[in-house]
């Protein structure tokens, strides 16, 4: 990042996601599970996909995932990423089932370094005092 780079884009936590972002600040990935069926869901909602109207509970995820797909960004889609290119964006499949977006870190951004299906583990990247992002790196 150059010193003049615009501030990083931060999420705006919503009431149903406060626990998710608090967990990330503490270096933990928390996801929701339907109390009746045991099905996990991502992203956090005040609504169960498995049992509409049903109850949800928060669970600390294993942090294990596999690479579902990725891209390597060469043109910054927002000025705040100008210092980060090239960087790897990905959709990962959590061991618990749901998919989520993340960056793949700790790997040179070369397609030869990435294989669909490769095992990953969660790591955490602090982007501000308020927000830490769950990311993934080869397990």
């Amino acid at each position: 990042m150059t010193t003049n780079a615009p501030a990083r884009l931060e999420p705006v936590s919503q009431p149903e996601s406060d626990q998710y972002w608090e967990g990330a600040r503490n270096g933990e990935l928390w996801i929701q599970r339907d109390k009746t069926t045991g099905e996990y869901q991502f992203y956090p909602r005040a609504h169960s996909l498995a049992t509409p109207g049903g109850e949800l509970e928060w669970v600390k995820a294993s942090g294990k995932a596999t690479l579902h797909t990725f891209g390597i960004v060469h043109i910054p889609p927002h000025p705040s990423f100008a210092g980060d290119i090239p960087y790897i964006t990905a959709i990962v499949e959590l061991q618990e089932g749901p998919k989520m977006a993340a960056n793949i870190v700790g790997v040179d951004p070369d397609p030869d370094n990435l294989t669909i299906g490769m095992p990953l583990k969660v790591v955490f990247t602090e982007i501000s005092d308020d927000y830490t992002l769950p990311n993934f790196t080869p397990a």
């Binding site: 990083r8 884009l9 931060e10 999420p11 705006v12 936590s13 919503q14 996601s17 992203y43 579902h68 797909t69 990725f70 891209g71 390597i72 960004v73 060469h74 043109i75 910054p76 889609p77 927002h78 990423f81 980060d84 090239p86 960087y87 964006t89 990905a90 959709i91 998919k99 989520m100 977006a101 993340a102 960056n103 397609p111 669909i116 982007i127 927000y131 992002l133 990311n135």
Partner: protein, 387 residues
């Protein structure tokens, strides 16, 4: 579920009687988005032999119909600002049919206008969306990043080299069509396979020449009853089938990155129309990216999953080929102001009327126009017939 028998009864009961772009498209620094809406509206009504005073239904996306109607000075009795990405304007055709046949209006005007290159006040993102929490902070921002990840998944499932070759074929073929359309941004700029493969990376696996243009442009469509179409300047292009829907918003929530909602809208529109794939003479397929065409053709049922690369091989979709796709030059090489879907219909209507000069297809009786919006999120499909 949609009631296909009731939809079949609507087939051919409404028609497109006017289409047009705004006065200038491409790089137009002196026109606002609303100016493009207004110019296109007047031009499309002229095309139909109608005037603003005939319009009683208004549809638009990206803007509220409140703003567009006020700018135009009209007071619509049916209003629809459904905005689900670049497919919206194709979806509006389904809404126009429903509104007209139910009696809510008789002349529906669909307008579009964007200053993609020169907008003095581009829309700010809604910071309350899930996307703002779970994608944007990762630099997953804008269509290229999302569509590239979908294309990479397709490559994994169906082969990287043949996917690459298919994307190159689509890029080069589309440019050839643009070279026959004087309104196209790349009208006077040919592109070769080498140009494709040597163009810079935008988001791997997308080269620059996998990606659509960013232009200033507007377009409009006028829809009315088949009966009233007989009195319009150029008659009517019958709307035989129309379908819409969506299955996610963010790319990371897409159920299957290689299968968009066109799997449903294609079948529904064709069933409603009573038309089969082999009847179609022109395929206007929203090409935000080369991959969008590849996956859309499969989803619409022109071939099976993973067979798209064979379908578009050897420049079959190019001028002179036996499977013409995107004869205007598409979003890749003609124009793409941000939400391009309406332009697929503009070109389909012109081809069905035999108005496209050098690039006119010999026999164009039936066309499909297929819009994709958001992040492969929404689709709208229409089947149109020559007057």
């Amino acid at each position: 579920m949609p009631n296909i028998n009731r939809l079949k009864a609507l087939s051919g009961q409404s028609a497109i009687v006017g289409v047009a772009e705004s006065d200038q498209i491409g790089n137009v620094p002196d026109k606002s988005p609303l100016a493009h809406h207004a110019e296109a509206a007047i031009n499309a009504l002229d095309d139909a032999g109608l005037s603003l005073s005939d319009v009683d239904g208004l549809m638009t996306a990206g803007w509220s119909t409140l703003d567009v109607a006020e700018y135009l000075g009209i007071q619509p009795r049916f209003t629809d600002s459904t905005s689900v990405g670049g497919s919206s304007f194709v979806i509006h055709i389904a809404h126009a049919i429903a509104a007209i046949q139910a009696g809510y209006c008789e002349v529906a005007l669909i307008t579009h206008g964007q200053a993609g290159r020169n907008d003095r006040s581009p829309a700010a993102p809604n910071l309350g969306t899930p996307q703002n929490q779970y994608e944007r902070p990762y630099g997953i921002i804008g269509p290229p990043v999302s569509y590239a990840m979908a294309a990479r998944r397709y490559m994994h499932q169906y082969g990287e080299d043949r996917t690459r070759e298919a994307m190159a074929n689509i890029s080069v073929a589309t440019r050839k069509w643009a070279n026959m359309n004087e309104k196209a941004y790349f009208y006077d700029r040919p592109a070769t396979f080498d140009d494709y493969h040597e163009s810079r990376w935008i988001v791997w696996p997308f080269h620059l020449l996998d990606c659509c243009l960013v232009t200033d442009a507007g377009a409009a469509i006028v829809v009315t009853t088949a009966e009233r179409a007989k009195d319009c300047a150029k008659g009517g292009v019958a709307i035989l089938g129309a379908a819409e829907g969506h299955d996610h918003s963010m790319i990371s929530q897409m159920p299957d990155l290689t299968c968009a909602f066109g799997r449903n809208t294609g079948k529904q529109a064709l069933d409603m129309a009573g038309v089969s794939h082999s009847d179609l003479d022109l395929m206007m397929i929203y090409d935000s990216f080369t991959y969008t065409v590849l996956v859309s053709l499969e989803n619409l049922g022109f071939c099976g999953p993973g067979e798209g690369p064979d379908l578009v091989a050897n420049q079959r979709t190019a001028p002179g080929g036996d499977f013409p796709v995107n004869t205007s030059g598409g979003g890749l090489s003609y124009t793409h102001p941000g939400m391009y879907g309406i332009f697929t219909v503009v070109e389909a209507v012109r081809q069905l009327r035999g108005e496209t000069g050098e690039r006119q297809l010999d026999d164009c009786d039936f066309a499909i126009a297929h819009g994709t919006g958001g992040y492969l999120s929404s689709t709208g499909t229409v089947i149109l017939a020559a007057p």
